[in-house]
């Protein structure tokens, strides 16, 4: 069995308690980090090839090096724990089962970049995670891992948990910052990036929970070691959340570069009996859908892009032959329509329109020209919005239509969903015309 890192403590009972966490070596990397030069830490982070685990995959060491280091302006650390993407459920495991690991990572990050205050911005629905984090932070303060003069090093760092009011768009880093400031979650225009103008107008580092939870391991074992666990440009192991019609859904740790097939077979236990794999979504609902022929693609930012999709959050959803792709697209469009902040025109109007069109196709009221219309809507949204939320609808919807064109055409031709033989659009329209 491979050595475990991020999920090391998942099986240990009550590892969320400080004493048990410390018994298993927790917080031991702090003294090592404090003895290191901060420039060395940043270069170790760069060497590690750690890529942001929030979905965009930006190299973490590079992001850290963008933070201004010589300004006297107060700087902030923000942990993005708003995990809300359908199909994604890895960060909550860290927060619920190993919260001290995240805190340990926060302290090292803050020490390295001279950050005095940190916020963990947690999705409001994750009440259990919030309680575990709050308790862990309290324990860490009591033990002197947080607060004033940490480990007698003359370095202060305060960490707070902020419960989100519950909007998916607050996961987008600038929407998150607005939310943290107490405003409606409406993403900001970039540039300026948060590293220059972030929370309360101050330089801010925004990183995902899993990204920061990886930091202690990189300090412990070195950047080269971390890089050696993955593939080119994608260092280290990561958490993969597997869901869908498989035998053993759950969160598993595996090195970057693992193939989707391995994930499915080794960890997920294969498809359910009687279920044939029809398609899979590699990294959360905003990724393009792939057919089983892409099962041998490696989980990495570049490799997944080559396969025609993206690694996203690394949480794979497996879909079987009983699933209607039009219905799936409808659900997804509904989600992105419902969660659009409404600021910019293409996303505000385009997501709702796309939803209405797909919904009418699924309901058996589609017209042949509407597939073209849908693709047009996707093209007009993508790349033309303030934040990437618009793309999150355009990319998957386009891929569903292009990958499963026949299924969409069937819906339109027969004016009903072939997966729901008992319901037809025709009979519906008969009722309405009789009325």
């Amino acid at each position: 069995m491979e050595e475990k890192f991020l999920s090391r403590n998942f099986e240990i009972e009550k590892a969320y308690n400080l004493d048990i966490f410390e018994e298993h070596g927790g917080y031991s990397t702090l003294s090592k980090a404090f003895s290191m030069d901060t420039d060395t830490i940043i270069s170790e982070m760069k060497k590690s090839n750690l890529r942001g685990r929030g979905g965009a995959g930006f190299p973490t060491g590079v992001k850290w090096s963008f933070m201004p280091r010589d300004s006297d302006k107060e700087k902030y650390l923000v942990i993005n724990a708003d995990e809300g993407e359908p199909g994604t459920f890895k960060d909550r495991y860290i927060m619920e089962l190993d919260p001290h690991r995240l805190i340990e990572g926060c302290v090292i990050t803050a020490y390295t970049l001279g950050l005095r205050t940190g916020y963990i911005f947690v999705r409001g629905e994750l009440q259990h995670a919030i309680r575990r984090l709050e308790r862990a932070i309290k324990q860490a303060y009591e033990k002197g891992h947080l607060g004033k003069n940490i480990h007698g090093k003359g370095f202060d760092f305060d960490l707070y948990v902020h419960s989100s009011a519950g909007a998916y768009i607050c996961g987008e880093e600038t929407g998150l910052i607005e939310g943290l400031e107490g405003k409606p979650g409406q993403p900001r225009m970039k540039p300026p990036f948060p590293a220059i103008v972030g929370v309360f107008g101050h330089p801010t580092l925004v990183n995902n929970v899993e990204t920061i939870a990886s930091v202690p391991f990189i300090i412990e074992r070195g950047g080269d070691f971390w890089a050696s666990l993955g593939i080119e440009k994608n260092g280290g192991p990561k958490l993969f959340g597997l869901s869908g019609m498989i035998k053993k859904p759950g969160v598993y740790e595996a090195p970057c570069g693992i193939t989707v097939r391995e994930l499915l077979e080794r960890f997920g236990g294969g498809m359910l009996d009687g279920s044939d794999l029809k398609a899979f979504i590699p990294g959360g609902s905003s990724c393009a859908i792939l057919k089983p022929d892409a099962l041998d693609a490696q989980m990495g930012i570049e490799t997944m892009r080559e396969a025609g999709s993206s690694m996203g959050t690394g949480c794979v959803t497996f879909i079987d032959h009983t699933t209607c792709m039009v219905r799936l697209a409808t659900r997804l469009a509904h989600f992105y329509h419902h969660e659009s902040c409404g600021q910019c025109t293409p996303c505000r109007e385009g997501t709702g329109w796309a939803y209405k069109v797909i919904n009418s196709i699924e309901a058996g009221r589609g017209r042949p020209e509407e597939l073209e219309l849908l693709l047009d809507i996707c093209d007009s949204i993508q790349g033309n919005t303030i934040c990437a939320h618009g793309d999150s609808l355009a990319i998957p919807v386009r891929s569903y239509i292009k990958t499963f064109t026949e299924e969409f055409e069937d819906h339109i031709k027969h004016q009903r969903c072939p997966f729901k033989p008992w319901r037809t659009g025709k009979s519906k329209s008969k009722v309405s015309s009789a009325a």
Partner: protein, 551 residues
């Protein structure tokens, strides 16, 4: 300064200007909704997306600053496609109720639709419904379905009026502009939100359903609400003013004007004095000027020039005041008493609203150079009661800070009271003679604002009824009195004389001031010399014994 190439045209622009502004300098108009030159750029409408060489995506031209060597396309195929898409998106949930929308004809959405989209709707589903005809404030109505969520109105209230009543509420395609709980859009500049709204989502309750905008003719004018002199478009239809809109002037009012001032246009049509009146009976100019002349001559003969009061109005234009000045000097006689009148002062703020509610007090100063001999109208009642004033010739119906009822009571006791005004108000019953003057919409002229800036206004339509510009009335009476020196065929001739005269006055003033300054300086120098002498003397006095001590 950065050089940029826009659609093949090279321009050199200031550092940090936006691509949109640079394009304008190169002669290309980039369509936009949310951008407004006086407000911050949120880049939310996405109408201004342009193609920039080496940029991976289209960029909002309103938000991105230029950099040296930038190459921009504002009309490429890709740009036009994105623009068309944005228009189509905006119309997805738009009610397209142009036939009953007040903005139709001056709506950016309509204009751009015809320029770029102009295709049939591809939207078959039910539209998102939102609040309609909602009274968001006492003077403004909001239509959520027409709103394109550009946030111009919100930013106006945050950045210009500083009152921040508005915000966006809800999200996605249910998002709407709303006031914060317990508030309404009720600030002194709330109607400016109607101007900045690029579509018909915010309409003026005053102008709603009143007139189609394409029927309006617009004349450049000045608001008479206070001494700020905000520049306006005076929009009129069939000889009636329908509304005022602010006209850009960076020195005076930028793009804005206050609500009170904007609604003063109503005075142009209420209770107008439209025909000459003689003891309450309608008369005609021909016979009435003769009677006025005869009466004035009689009064001068009986009680002397000094018994006559000429009341100047700070509401009148410079040209009218100049004729009044000549009328005073050449007809009534220099000993006749001058008074200055106008509206009483009112509320003010540190933006546009001035306490002085008259457009041309500084104009009177300019015409007379100094106001030494001119009394405040508040003293008029006392002078009449004391018997020093027997005859009053009054422009306008205002008594400034003076007590109105006292003034009206005193005027009743006057032997002769001639009123020359646009409205009769409560003075019509008191006046022996009433001469109808026309409003500033019906004539051309000049106002000098609080800052001393002389601003022209132009004639929008013919004078109502028998009314005439004040300057012409003075001329008619002068003529009836047999004095032909007050004879100007055109306003421009009045203006020439006026500028010549004020220039002379100004020079004389300057010379006098220079002389006074010189005299004061000389006196000061003399004094200093004397003092120095004194000090020297006293120093010598004290030094002498000191000198002598060592010896």
């Amino acid at each position: 300064m950065p050089m940029v190439t826009i659609n093949g045209v090279e321009v050199e622009v200031e550092k940090d200007v936006s691509i949109l502004e640079a394009a304008a300098q190169a002669g290309f108009d980039v369509p936009h909704f949310c951008y407004h030159p006086a407000l911050s750029a949120p880049a939310n409408c996405r109408m201004c997306l342009v193609e920039v060489e080496r940029a991976p995506k289209l960029l909002p031209a309103c938000y991105n600053p230029v950099s040296d060597g930038m190459v921009v396309q504002t009309e490429s195929e890709q740009v036009v496609r994105a623009r068309k898409a944005v228009l189509e998106f905006i119309l997805v949930n738009h009610p397209v109720d142009c036939p009953i929308c007040d903005k139709a004809g001056e709506c950016k959405l309509q204009d751009y639709y015809f320029a770029y989209d102009a295709q049939e709707s591809r939207m078959r589903a039910e539209k998102q419904h939102k609040v309609k005809a909602y009274p968001i404030g006492p003077r403004v109505v909001y239509d959520g379905e027409r709103c394109i969520l550009c946030t111009r109105c919100i930013r106006f209230c945050e950045e210009i009026s500083g009152t921040s009543e508005l915000t966006l509420a809800d999200r996605g395609d249910k998002i709407e502009v709303r006031t914060f709980p317990g508030q309404e859009l009720d600030n002194d500049y709330s109607l400016c939100t109607v101007d900045v709204c690029p579509v018909g989502a915010l309409t003026s309750r005053d102008f709603r359903f009143k007139c189609r905008v394409w029927l309006l003719t617009s004349t450049e004018s000045i608001c008479t609400g206070c001494s700020q002199g905000c520049n306006i478009h005076l929009d009129h239809f069939r000889n009636e003013t329908q509304r005022y809109r602010p006209r850009y002037n960076s020195e005076v009012n930028d793009y804005w004007m206050c609500d009170d001032g904007r609604l003063t246009y109503k005075n142009l049509h209420t209770d107008r004095l439209l025909s000459p009146q003689h003891n309450g009976a309608t008369d005609n100019w021909h016979t009435l000027t003769k009677s006025v002349a005869a009466k004035l001559e009689k009064q001068i003969k009986a009680h002397g020039e000094e018994s006559i009061a000429l009341v100047l109005s700070a509401q009148a234009a410079c040209e009218d005041i100049f004729l009044a000045k000549l009328f005073h000097e050449e007809i009534l006689g220099k000993k006749a008493q001058l008074y200055i009148a106008g509206k009483p002062s009112g509320k003010h703020d540190d933006f546009l609203i001035n306490a002085d509610k008259n457009p041309n007090r500084r104009g009177i100063e300019a015409v007379f150079a100094k106001l030494d001999g001119i009394k405040d109208v508040a003293t008029l009642a006392g002078d009449i009661t004391a018997g020093t004033i027997k005859t009053v010739y009054m422009m306008g119906t205002e008594f400034g800070e003076g007590d109105r009822s006292e003034a009206v009571a005193a005027l009743k006791k006057c032997e002769l009271f001639i009123l020359q005004s646009t409205q009769g108000a409560d003075l019509l019953d008191v006046a022996h003679i009433a001469l109808p003057a026309c409003t500033h919409a019906e004539k051309e002229g000049t106002f000098v604002n609080e800052e001393g800036i002389a601003q022209p206004f132009y004639k929008a339509y013919e004078p109502h009824g028998d009314s005439l510009p004040d300057w012409q009335i003075f001329m008619r009476i002068a003529k009836a009195m047999g004095k032909s020196t007050l004879n100007f065929t055109f306003l421009s001739k009045v203006q020439d004389r006026m500028f010549e005269a004020t220039e002379l006055l100004r020079k004389a003033e300057e010379e006098a001031a220079a002389a006074a300054k010189k005299a004061a300086e000389e006196a000061a120098a003399k004094k200093a010399e004397e003092e120095a002498k004194k000090a020297e003397e006293s120093a010598a006095a004290t030094e002498e014994p000191q000198d002598s001590t060592p010896s």
